[in-house]
Assembly symmetry: C2
Homo-oligomer: 345 residues x 2
């Protein structure tokens, strides 16, 4: 007997983290009487006088945002991490805590308040990538910084409190656990096979072509076999690169294209500005990590429609993450969608 | 220099999972302009003719819910796990999947549609505990079932689609990863110290009395040192018990009292029916687990008010869980609240 991914509940193994996800393919048949989200406002002015990220406006802390013209980054006025915290380890019986040194930055993607990544030009997204590269290198070079987490929370549903196109960077002394898991798995594979785990996986996926969303010369976008979120997607360079600092200008432009395509498909799925958290996982900055293959992941919560999301609650919190459609079903749907944004048609 | 938990961002170690949480105590000072949740309806009739969990009504699958008088459980009409799935392991290059055998049940806590756990009598909650005990033992004894996860999603914010007081049980072949982590950590400690990790931790907490919410002869309720969710709480027996099946009638009644107190404090915090996911972590059912010390945890999302929750997004998904108030601040607040439900005053 063979497993039928479309019929049998099954678990899938995440080769990058060593974790499992439970897949219940038949489960969206159940009726949904639960929570409906609000459809986000999509029409916004190019400039909002009350937005502290718009050029020339004053921020909560009193500082003024300069009249920037493409991208702009600054230290978060409400940083979760502070540069002057000592990283002392304290143990008291079974209680163990450690001070955390860090820096939190905000990265404005565009001066235009009305935009989002899918609505920006490829060239303008490449400017964002260039700023990420600069921040990764500069923050990573600082004393007591060993890891730089670049991410974006898009949409109110994902806890974003300002619709101005922006992301964040949290740089810190400790290496976060998601990254440690991925280091461990990639290292074990690299030591055994002397090649990149993710690189070999991408080859297998390109070969199968069941979960690929898009590719250009340098990058692949796909729904990973072990995706947790309904329409989770990953963008990775075909050739192993430890981190984004290693990207050439040409590769950065190809990366920008992949970002534009994936986020456009997302918006086209339910014809709504698609909420997600995205993040770049790459090598920590304290060392050479020959096993690391950087990648950007998108975790979008929507499942059934623009108003019904997947809840990662009860079983998912206490047991394993669980998903209701297969990665192949999600990939097929996304792949079939246009690469032109619905609002531009 | 010493760490000041109220000032310094720091990480705390979870002795049960081996994971870390980032604590940013100063962070609630930032203004919140983000998403506001709807305040849940609290006035509900005792009987709702459209609710499929009310006694005598017909369910989506066509079956009739009997006229039960205290508690009632049945197999979920839209189960995520199915009993006849074979648990075959399949590997294809870097893709690894395994069929999952399982059973999903729904547990109605009361025939009264208007109630929630904090509004039920201690005796009635003890009936719920007795049904959990029965299900844990019966499901756990079945072939191909090695783990029984009991949980509740309360409130629309936590993905609950029916306000009738109920919880769920997902029993399955594989041992979920959260449970595996806790087995590993408890086993290592037990083998080294020949005593219960959680038991020793509880002793230390009772001694310090900084995070304790409530205790009776048999149970302790506290905010764990490594709590992730703003008002996360845990209830555990003082004496090590591997699982709930080991509870005497008297202990089960004491457990019910702790549940009533914790959920009442929750409701009293913002004078709202407090959403959460709760779950019981206990020994898997395939073996004797001398290291296991069962406990029930509550993960409530609300942070600032009845309408502003904590978003576990971006950094939390890609790095570590992060929290904005300390466990001590949360414990102090909850401890100070009445054990009588606000609606009964
Ligand atoms: O089974 P329910 O209550 O319809 O569904 C709820 O609980 C499940 C188990 O935690 C989750 O998988 C669902 O996302 C959630 O909406
Ligand atoms: O910093 P923001 O955008 O105000 O806050 C948002 O992102 C943070 C980082 O993922 C989270 O900790 C917050 O819960 C979320 O609301």
């Amino acid at each position: 007997m063979k497993l039928d991914y479309n019929e049998h509940p099954h678990r899938r193994y995440n080769i990058l983290t060593g974790e499992w996800v439970l897949v219940s393919p038949h489960r969206t048949k159940r009726p949904w009487q639960g929570k409906q989200e609000k459809i986000p406002e999509t029409k916004r002015p190019k400039y909002d006088p009350t937005c502290y990220l718009c050029p020339g406006n004053t921020r909560a802390g009193g500082e003024q945002t300069p009249k920037y013209e493409s991208v702009y980054s600054f230290t978060n006025d409400f940083s979760a991490l502070l540069a002057d915290t000592p990283n002392i380890l304290e143990e008291d019986g079974l209680l163990k805590a450690q001070g955390e040194t860090g820096i939190c930055k905000v990265v404005c993607f565009s001066p235009d308040h009305s935009l989002t990544l899918p609505l920006m030009e490829q060239k303008a997204i490449a400017d964002v990538v260039a700023l990420w590269q600069k921040e990764y290198s500069e923050l990573g070079a600082k004393q007591n910084i060993r890891h730089v987490q670049i991410f974006e929370n898009k949409g109110a549903m994902m806890g974003c409190s300002n619709p101005h196109p922006h992301g964040q960077i949290w740089a810190q002394y400790s290496i976060p656990q998601e990254v440690e898991r991925k280091t461990k798995m990639q290292r074990a594979y690299f030591e055994k096979n002397d090649s990149s785990l993710l690189g070999d996986y991408l080859k297998q996926e390109l070969d199968k072509d069941e979960r690929i969303l898009f590719q250009n010369e340098h990058f692949v976008a796909l729904v990973p076999f072990w995706a947790v979120w309904p329409y989770e997607a990953m963008i990775a360079p075909k050739k192993q690169l430890q981190n984004i600092a290693a990207l050439s200008k040409e590769q950065a432009l190809a990366f920008a294209e992949a970002i534009k395509v994936v986020t456009t498909k997302f918006d086209n799925l339910f014809e709504v500005s698609f909420p997600y958290s995205s993040g770049i996982h790459q090598s920590p900055t304290d060392n050479d990590y020959p096993e690391w293959h950087f990648h950007m992941s998108f975790y979008p919560p929507l499942l059934r429609s623009a108003t019904v999301k997947k809840f990662m609650v009860g079983y998912e919190m206490f047991g394993n993450p669980q998903r209701d459609i297969t990665a192949e079903q999600a990939a097929k749907k996304l792949k079939g969608l246009s690469n032109t944004h619905y609002s531009l048609k």
